[in-house]
């Protein structure tokens, strides 16, 4: 049977905020998701993830949208394709534009994911959208304090050694809890690794 052609992607453009991230930007419309993934007393280690998006000149991008998709503290996804399924009320999806923070950061308050399948190190899946990207870009965030698990991770192993640090968020202990920082470089010597998912 002949297949249908996949619908071409087009850029998210600069004007997504009032529909995709309305509450964050102060528009009078509900948001399906935002920068906080924590609802109620979901079990797991509270962490914050923050970073900036930088263009080929090293300038901060203030009109990007970042989405994250992650497993719960035990490495289970809230989705029917995960036979274990998350049952702790953790949806695992966050979405934030870089246009409201004074430093144009994305900031996610979430829990640290567990290892998904034993083989992979704990990680967060990231989707990057912005004006000038005709097709979104997939990347991942790993954690600097998971060195042993990272060393065994099959996806990190497929990345040239000198580029792996573009995927590893650096942990910083704050009084309020752990903050992991990672900038996303679209181009340049530290260009982030993007995946063909």
């Amino acid at each position: 049977m002949s297949k249908l052609r996949q619908t071409p992607s087009q850029t998210v453009g600069p004007f997504f905020a009032y529909a995709l991230t309305p509450e964050q930007y102060g528009y009078d419309f509900t948001s399906i998701a935002g920068g906080s993934l924590i609802e109620g007393d979901v079990p797991g280690q509270r962490i914050r993830i923050e970073g900036r998006v930088l263009d080929g000149k090293g300038e901060v991008v203030p009109d990007a949208m970042i989405e994250i998709w992650q497993a719960d503290g035990e490495g289970r996804y809230a989705h029917s394709a995960d036979p274990r399924g998350s049952n702790v009320g953790f949806r695992g999806f966050g979405r934030m534009g870089t246009g409201t923070d004074p430093q144009s950061r994305f900031i996610f308050d979430t829990i640290k994911p567990g290892s998904v399948d034993g083989a992979q190190a704990p990680h967060i899946n990231v989707v990057v959208f912005m004006r000038g990207l005709l097709l979104h870009a997939f990347t991942r965030i790993y954690f600097s304090d998971e060195a042993a698990a990272n060393a065994r991770d099959p996806v990190l192993a497929s990345v040239p050694t000198e580029r792996r640090n573009t995927l590893i968020a650096v942990r910083d202990e704050k009084s309020a809890g752990a903050v992991y920082r990672l900038d996303i470089h679209m181009q340049g010597p530290n260009e982030t690794v993007f995946f063909d998912v």
């Binding site: 249908l4 087009q10 998701a33 998904v116 260009e191 995946f195």
Partner: protein, 232 residues
């Protein structure tokens, strides 16, 4: 056997770097993408069903009214979400955003000096039914100028965002209208491979046109399909 998703068909997708669209020059990744073997991380994805909708979310002619009706030509936009094997995709969230009839976005950084419409936001969402169908009622968006090049205008379009069944099926795109003379001059539309551009153009359909109320346009989405792969 575990279910994964067929690869992205790169021949139907715009390239990251398309210099006619100037913003791509400093923002397009320059290194080849690294292939990932799909795991639970890629074959799962965010789930938002009917429970995530407000009552008027799919009717942009009513979801932001402040005592009047929005100005412009009412339209219905409807169609199906399919995968590349033709399988309907039920219970899928679709989010949309668009300019008003005058070509102005509510977004504060839109400085185009066309009027805002106090009764129109331009954002909406709906969830596909059991046959993968969706339907929005809205106002036909106007063309608007942008700074890409001298006298640059975007053709009228509606932005769409779909998750599909998994992270790997994520799709953000734009739907255009048939016969728009601006299409040939638009580097975003023209960045799409020539044989797939028509996939981005809606069809006028008398059967979706509501008598004395709104013109009907049809637009289908095709997402990556499932495939069976043996577990190693």
């Amino acid at each position: 056997m575990t279910e994964t998703y067929a690869p992205r068909d790169w021949s139907s997708q715009p390239p990251y770097l398309h210099p006619d669209y100037k913003s791509t020059v400093l923002r397009a990744p320059t290194k080849p993408l690294i292939p990932i073997r799909q795991s639970l991380s890629e074959i799962t994805g965010p789930v938002y069903g009917h429970e995530s909708l407000g009552k008027l979310d799919a009717d942009l002619t009513r979801n932001a009214i402040k005592g009047g009706e929005p100005i412009g030509e009412r339209i219905v936009v409807t169609g199906r979400v399919l995968d590349e094997n033709g399988r309907p995709q039920p219970n899928m969230l679709i989010e949309i955003w668009q300019a008003n009839a005058a070509g102005r976005y509510v977004h504060v950084v839109d400085q185009h000096p066309a009027p805002l419409d106090p009764n129109f936001l331009g954002g909406g969402r709906c969830v596909t039914d059991s046959e993968g169908r969706y339907k929005f009622t809205t106002i036909k968006p106007g063309a608007y100028p942008w700074g890409n090049h001298e006298n640059a205008w975007r053709p009228a379009h509606i932005h769409f965002s779909l998750f599909g069944p998994s992270l790997s099926t994520r799709l953000v795109t734009q739907m255009y209208f048939p016969g728009d003379p601006l299409l040939a001059f638009d580097p975003i539309y023209m960045g799409t491979p020539a044989d797939c551009r028509e996939l981005l153009i809606s069809r006028f359909m008398l059967e979706h046109t509501q008598p004395s109320f709104a013109l009907g346009y049809e637009f289908d989405f095709v997402l990556r399909g499932r495939r069976q792969t043996p577990v190693e």
